[in-house]
Symmetry: C2
Subunit: 81 residues, 2 copies
């Protein structure tokens, strides 16, 4: 399976890194920039799994390792089963 | 405009962070994991720009700040013009 997983801060959680990027862009002259939020993503390749197990498995990766459930949400996307 | 920009290492550039994630997943019992590559993304909101200028502008953000052109590629995506 090929998949992409996005991990991003929950709404309401401060994102100082995103804020820094926004003000850096403004300083560079891009004054139209209103806000930036930064997240990370993972491109994951696995050997094939039982049919229909892909999404569930990706969610397990997130819960066990990739995301911090206190402050982060995630979104999984199977690109090639 | 609302947009999402993905920044990721060029093919062939080593990704130790992704490698660490892959072996951590394997250690956790997810032995099907073959490889992981990690990237970052930015959700950007701007005040409205002249029609047709959106993509070009996002690429400028990448070239000037968001991506390191020596080792990273980027992909811009306008979500709401």
């Amino acid at each position: 399976m090929k998949a992409r997983v996005h991990v991003f801060l929950k709404e309401g959680v401060l994102d100082p890194q995103g804020k820094a990027v926004a003000s850096a862009l403004q300083t560079l002259g891009f004054e139209e920039v209103l806000s930036v939020r930064q997240g990370k993503f993972f491109d994951i390749e696995t050997s094939s799994l039982p049919k229909g197990a892909n999404e569930e498995r990706l969610k397990e990766y997130c819960k066990k390792l990739l995301a911090n459930p206190v402050i982060e949400n995630f979104k999984v996307e199977v690109i090639e089963p």
